[in-house]
Structures are given as C-alpha cells and as structure tokens.
Symmetry: C2
Subunit: 482 residues, 2 copies
C-alpha cells in the first residue's frame, strides 16, 4: 500500500498531504507510470480520513496531469517517474575469481572457431535429433501428468523421482553390477555429477589421475577447481597400464577418472580383460575410480563389455556416472550417479545445496519413456544408424586423409593423428573452406595432441561427411606438399 509510509501531520490540510505524498512517491520511483492508485474509498479507510479529502486530492492531481481516472477501471499515474539518476557502478571484471576465469577461458564455445551457417561441422558429438521419437516423448509426458497430476510440478526430492531411481537401479543391476549397499542420485547430466564429486571430495592442489587425452569438460572442471591433473598416455586398447603403475608410484591421487567405452576423444573401447587389469591396479593402490559411463549404451557388439563397476563385485571403490545425453534427449540434462550408499547420501545434500533437485517433470517423462520399452526400441534403431555412419565415415577417412593413426571403434566420433602436421593449421584452412572439426589439443592434459583432431559424425549427413572429409584431406595434402 503506497500510503503505508504516509505519516499525517496536523499542520497541513489532509488533501494537500495526500497530494504531496503521491507526487513524492512518483518522484522517488515508488509509483510508476501506469501504476493504479488505490480507490478513494480504500485510501480513506486505510488512513482513517474523510473520503472527500482523497477525492479532492485526486481531482487536483488529475488537473495537474499527474494522474487520470477512467470510469470503471480506476485511477492511474500518467507521468514518467523521474527517479533520481543513480549511477552505481561496480568493476565486475576485477572481482571474478580464478574459478570463474578458468571456466570462461576454457569455454570452447567462446574460444574455438564458431560454426557458421552452411558449414559442414564435425564438431558435435550430440545425437541426431531427427532420430528422437517425439510421439513417444509426448505420450510419456501425458502419462506422467495423468499419473502424478499437479504434484509433479511442485517441489520434489534431491535424490530424484522415485520410480526413476528404482528403474535406474534395476538398469545398473542388468549391467551385471552388484547394487548392494549402493544408491543413486539423479543429476543434471554427467557435468553436474562430476562437478558435485569434485566439489565434495577435493581441495585445490589435489591430484586426479586420468587418461591422456580425456573429455575436455572434465579437464575444464578439474582445472577450474585448482586440481593437479596427471594424464596417463593411452595405447590403442586404452590407458597404458605400465605408465599407470609408474604414475601411481610417485603420486597419491584423490581419485581416477576413466572413460572405458568410446573414450572421448579417442573412441577406444577398453576390452573386458583390460578393464579388470585397470581396476586391479587402482584397487591395489586404494585409488577410487570415477567411471564415466559415456555412450556405453551404444556398444553394438553381440556381447556387452561389462562396466568397471561390475568388476568391483564387492565393495564401493567405483562410482559410476551415467548419462544418456549423447544418445537421447540431451536437452533435458538428465544423468545419474551410482555408488556407495553413504557417499550418495552426502552427495544428495550437496545436490540440494546447488540446485535443490533436477526437474521432476523431466524425470517423470524420462521414466515413462524408458519404462514403456520405447528406449530399448530407440537404442536398437540408433545403434544401427550410427554404426552405418561410423563405417561410412571410416571409409571416407581411409580414402582421403593421410593419417598416422586412427582410433574409434564406433560410437559417434573417431580420432585422427597426423604425421607431424598441426591440426589447428589444418582447421584454419578448412574453416576458410567451410569445414570445421574439433582440434585434439583441447583434450590433452599436458598441452600435447597438436597433431590430432576429432571427427564427430553423428549429426552430419553422408553427403556432407563425404564432402567434408575430402576437404580435410585436400587441406592436409596441400600442407604436406608445401
């Protein structure tokens, strides 16, 4: 009520005080152009004054062109509030801490060459959205609304939507993982899950061990948190176990971060024997493992390769971070963390302190979509689709690009190493010809990889794959022949 702050005095006529109060309120910005004034009846009752005083005040203000009454609608302020000019400036740039600066300087969307219209872009490893079955998505939406009603739109629980949690637990079990003593926390994708773990388990200066190269977002998060990254070189079958053993002799990392399937960026799938070996090494040194379940669902061999978590038949040494974002509905930003029940219990509180919980309507849709069998059907379809695209891309690369080595066993991308040619030089020239890809150096923990790059083919048509790879090959050959 705009008159709450009016203290009436006995020296001036009441109507003048009411008039002045409204003028001052406008001047102070408390009443704005278009604001509706309370009715004369309301004001007289609120201030306990005669209604006539208010009527007179309003009439005078209307004559002055300050307010205007409109029959049946009310009385409105007609002049612009001329708030005192108030220039309150803060030099925000000097106030950003190192975390903020690193997040910004390592934000590849701001630092890398942008994709432009009509370009052929091999940058993305997001799924091809045309494969999404939107009718099934709509059905899942209507199912959850009809089942849960309005309450799905109110606050939920930090851990996640209960039917989804149960579904995911069964899903982990179906991967041959022992779920006893374990729990699940739904997160906003892998990124939030990994960031929550880092926030909860590390201090600046702590050491983390991972593959080199590795997922650039993980590198960004670790660097932003001031962590010391030890990247262990990879062979064609995954992390080099001898180098790993050696690295562990000299350091005590807080944990290991490993991507066993369709490793980003190399595309390598670690075989089961190697997974067991790698897990044994970490276990021997008591280094917990954060397993990135990235694209595991795309594995299209006849027998699934068990996750690292499944080799940990008893015990809680592995935390599995799952996400379907590279396959299904990444726009929903849903993922999950699976691990030791007490640890998840703490992470749940951390999640609550960061985002309260992930969108419950999205979790509901996701659950109904998965449960209905639409997901199984969809996975079968996209495995075939991406496998064909992978084989087509590989053929084009073999035909056009003079590489030193190539890795990637399927999934959504392949990784190419050139013979002593700088991939950023290639990229710059390709960019001028309308073709872009991801330079490999952003995936390296030690500034290496300048002769590598990643080709993401998931969203590129076969026609464009052929054209684009040809351009890349021509550029490389032109540099070689200089």
């Amino acid at each position: 009520m705009i008159f709450s702050s009016l203290k009436l005095n006995k020296d001036e006529p009441i109507y003048i005080q009411v008039e002045n109060h409204i003028k001052e309120s406008i001047e102070k910005g408390m009443l704005q152009k278009g604001s509706k004034l309370p009715s004369t009846r309301e004001v007289s009752s609120f201030l306990n004054i005669s209604r006539n005083s208010v009527v007179v005040a309003y009439e005078n203000l209307e004559i002055d062109g300050i307010i205007k009454s409109s029959r049946g609608k009310g009385t409105f302020v007609t002049i612009e509030a001329s708030k005192p000019k108030n220039e309150f400036n803060i030099d925000w740039g000097t106030r950003i801490n190192s975390y903020g600066s690193i997040c910004e300087s390592m934000d590849i969307l701001k630092t890398e060459l942008p994709w432009e219209k009509n370009m052929i872009s091999f940058k993305s490893i997001a799924p091809e959205e045309n494969l999404f079955d939107i009718e099934e998505f709509k059905r899942a939406f209507l199912d959850v609304i009809s089942l849960e009603g309005n309450k799905i739109l109110n606050y939920g629980y930090a851990k996640g939507y209960k039917p989804l949690l149960e579904y995911l637990m069964d899903y982990m079990k179906s991967k041959g993982i022992n779920t006893e003593g374990k729990d699940i926390l739904v997160t906003n994708g892998f990124t939030e899950g990994f960031d929550i773990i880092i926030n909860t388990l590390t201090e600046p200066g702590d050491v983390i061990i991972c593959e080199n190269p590795t997922h650039n977002t993980a590198i960004k998060i670790m660097k932003a948190h001031g962590l010391d990254i030890i990247g262990v070189p990879m062979n064609e079958d995954g992390i080099d176990t001898k180098s790993l053993e050696k690295a562990l002799e000299n350091t005590s990392p807080k944990f290991a971060y490993i991507i066993p399937s369709y490793h980003n960026p190399t595309g390598i799938v670690m075989n089961g024997e190697k997974r067991q070996e790698v897990l044994n090494i970490f276990q021997k040194h008591s280094i917990p493992v954060i397993e990135d379940g990235f694209n595991e669902e795309l594995l299209y061999t006849s027998s699934p390769v068990p996750s690292l978590a499944s080799f940990c038949t008893d015990g809680n040494g592995v935390v599995y971070v799952g996400s379907l974002s590279k396959i299904l509905f990444p726009g929903l930003r849903l993922g999950w963390m699976f691990g030791d029940r007490d640890l998840i219990n703490t992470l749940e509180s951390v999640k609550r302190a960061r985002t309260i919980h992930s969108s419950f309507i999205d979790q509901g849709i996701f659950y109904h979509y998965m449960k209905s069998g639409a997901f199984d059907k969809y996975v079968k379809k996209v495995r075939k689709h991406y496998k064909d695209k992978y084989e087509f891309t590989l053929k084009q690369v073999n035909k056009h690009i003079p590489y030193e080595s190539i890795t990637g066993e399927g999934g959504l991308h392949i990784f190419i190493k050139l013979k002593g040619i700088n991939a950023r030089e290639v990229l710059q020239k390709c960019y001028e010809k309308g073709v872009v890809f991801t330079p490999g150096d952003i995936f390296y923990t030690d500034g290496g990889g300048e002769d590598t790059f990643r080709i993401g083919f998931s969203r590129v048509s076969e026609e464009d794959i052929e054209k684009g790879i040809k351009v890349i090959g021509e550029v490389i050959n032109s540099i070689k022949n200089l």
Copy 2:
C-alpha cells in the same frame, strides 16, 4: 567383439582355443549369463578360421551346459559369470571435504523433525499445487513441441532458451528497471543462481553482509563456501540502516545479499523509500547488491513496490536473482539472474561448466505458459487466494498465540517471536501433538532467534490452520504456566 582379445597360437587345435576363450571370457566376467554370442559365421570371418572349428567349439560348450543355441534366435551364455570376488573398499566418510560436510550438516531435511502423515505442517512455503492450471501447462508443452519440434530435446545454450530470455528481459523492463548494458542467465532456480555467484566472486574467508535473520539456504551455501557472514539486525520495516552503516565501517564485504519483498523468514516488505535508502548506503561503500526477487510477484498492493534494481537507474551495482518457485511450478527448477552484461557473460561460462544449461523443454514450456497470458491470470488468482489465507492465519494467531511480536505482510508465511520461550521446546511438544513448523533459529546468522518460528500457510487448509494454530497456542500457554 568378444574375440578381439583372442590371439591364436599354432600349438593347440583351433576349436579348443575358441572354446577356452569363451570359457575364460565368462570366468573373467566379460561374457555374462544371457549374453548373445556372435554367430559361427561371424567368428570364422573375424578370426579368419574355418567355420567348422567354431561350430565344433559351440557344440562342445553346449554339451558342457555353458551355452545354448536357440533356432532363429542365436546362441546364448547359460551359466552365471563367476567373476573373481573383488572387494574394493574405500572409506568415503573420511574423504568428504568441509564443503560436503557443511552441506550435509546444514541440510534441514536431514536434521529437522520430519513431517509425518496426517500431521499439520506449517513448514512449507511451497505453493499450493492445486492452484496450478495443468491444462494450460499441457497446452504450453504441446505448443513448444509443435513450434520447435525435435530440436528442443537436443542440446541448447547455457544462457537459456532465446524466446524466454527475451521475455524475461521485457519482464524486468516492465518492473521499471533500466535494462541497458544488462543481460540474463537462466538458472535452476534461485539456489543455483546464488551458488554460481558465490562460486565466481568469492574466496573462503570473504565477508558477505545480509539481513539477520535471512533465507536459510543462502546461509547454508555461504557457510559451505567458507564465507564469513555479517548479519545485520532487522526492524519492522526491514534491515536496520544504522546497524548497517556501522557494520560497513568495520568490514569490506564482497557483496550484500538482500530480500526486499516478503523477506524470508520475517515476511517484511521493505517500502520504496527504505529501498532507496538501503541502496544508497551500499552504493556509498561500493558494495554490490545481490537482490533476491523472492515472491515479488505476490505483492498485492495497488501500486507495485519497485525492486532495488530499479533504483539503480544507471550502472551495474545490483544483480537481481529471480525465481517464481514459490508461486509457480517449482518442480521445474527455473529461475534467472539479471545484471551487468559482462558479468553475466562470465556466469554463463560457469553455468556451462556446472550443468551445461537448464532443461530446454522446461524453458520452452515456461515461456509459452508466460507468453499466453496464463501467468497473469494465474498470478491474479493466487494473490487473492494467498491474501485470504494470510488474513485467516493472522486472525487465528492473534486469537490463540501469546506472542511478543509478529511480522509478515502477506506472502506465504508469517514470523512469530515469543516472550522468552524456546521455540524448539514448543516444536517438540507440538510434534507430539501432530503439528510442525519451522524453528526460527535456522534463519539466524549468529545462533540467535531461539524464541522465534515461521508459520508457512500456503499448503495448509483453513480447517487445519485453525486446528494447528490452536495446538501451538495451547502448547505455548502450557509452557508459560509451568
């Protein structure tokens, strides 16, 4: 391919090597019960051996009961993979850092008395979900799907869904705020917005100034980040400006955190004059202000009280954190930050490093819901609804509770101070009688407020409000008369 790791030797018969490889793969957990084996044709072609060797190997394994062929379906493993028992244990409890421990120890869902079925609970200040117009929500969902198609389900942008960003910018402008040089970032509610700001602008040990009492989630986030909180006492019209001036003489806070409307927990609405005064004080000391726009939309006076941000007519000293979570669809977890363009640009990168972006389908639904006019209609409806409930609650409190003072001018809650009676003692006794509320001490930055409590009435029926308040009054009287 399960045979990738098989290196054939020349000493043993091929079929024996194939047999042993499958047995070993099962033993090592690389083939699980139910796994499908590749066809004999695939194996012979992959290993470049005669198909007959594979057929013999498969037959022998079937005789041993290890695999089973099913005509037209394929060959499957029938025995349980007996993975080596592997007990890999980590003592996670000792690995949680102080951030994680504080998030957990200040998680009121874990530390406070739980709500139980059939209890009357005044704990929540979430909106009454039965007021949500679910048909409009469905319509908004179908609108966004039909307009955007599958691409709304793929990755989006960290800053937010563009039409929503534009809508929110106009919305800020309609509040009389100068939007020049400003930008908006969509967040997962107030909580993420505030946490992102803290993450980006502070270091442990930094000082933040705020009202005392204040929003308990904000206190939790600040403490978890190791910040030093200076809580300034409040009067019945908001923060005490003399105490504020004094506090600023002795400290240089990184920023101020202020809740001008329906302050949580006191329910006080700062009037416009006071807002101008408070802003002037911070400006004089060059202390930027984080304004929590909490429940501003519920202000049901005839003339809106302008936000702190609107008094900053020029300059970038105020960051406004908006959220509709206490009014509309909190389960979606959507909010926004409005402030200096360069600052938002950095915060956008931080957001990308934390959750990539907020759910795009949710942002799309939200935008279509707001734009259609459904929001305006809804706000009018709930203002009336909550105003009536507020007045009813107030009447019951005045009738039954012997308080020292009471604050709260509407909104979704009121705040009560008793005369030297411990609110936790009252709570314990009320709990035994099936009534719960929020003890006030959790909102205090300095351990005070032991004689205060918050009554959230938004989700309680009038019948239960009457019953519940009566119980609280009786308990207080019984303690007084001891």
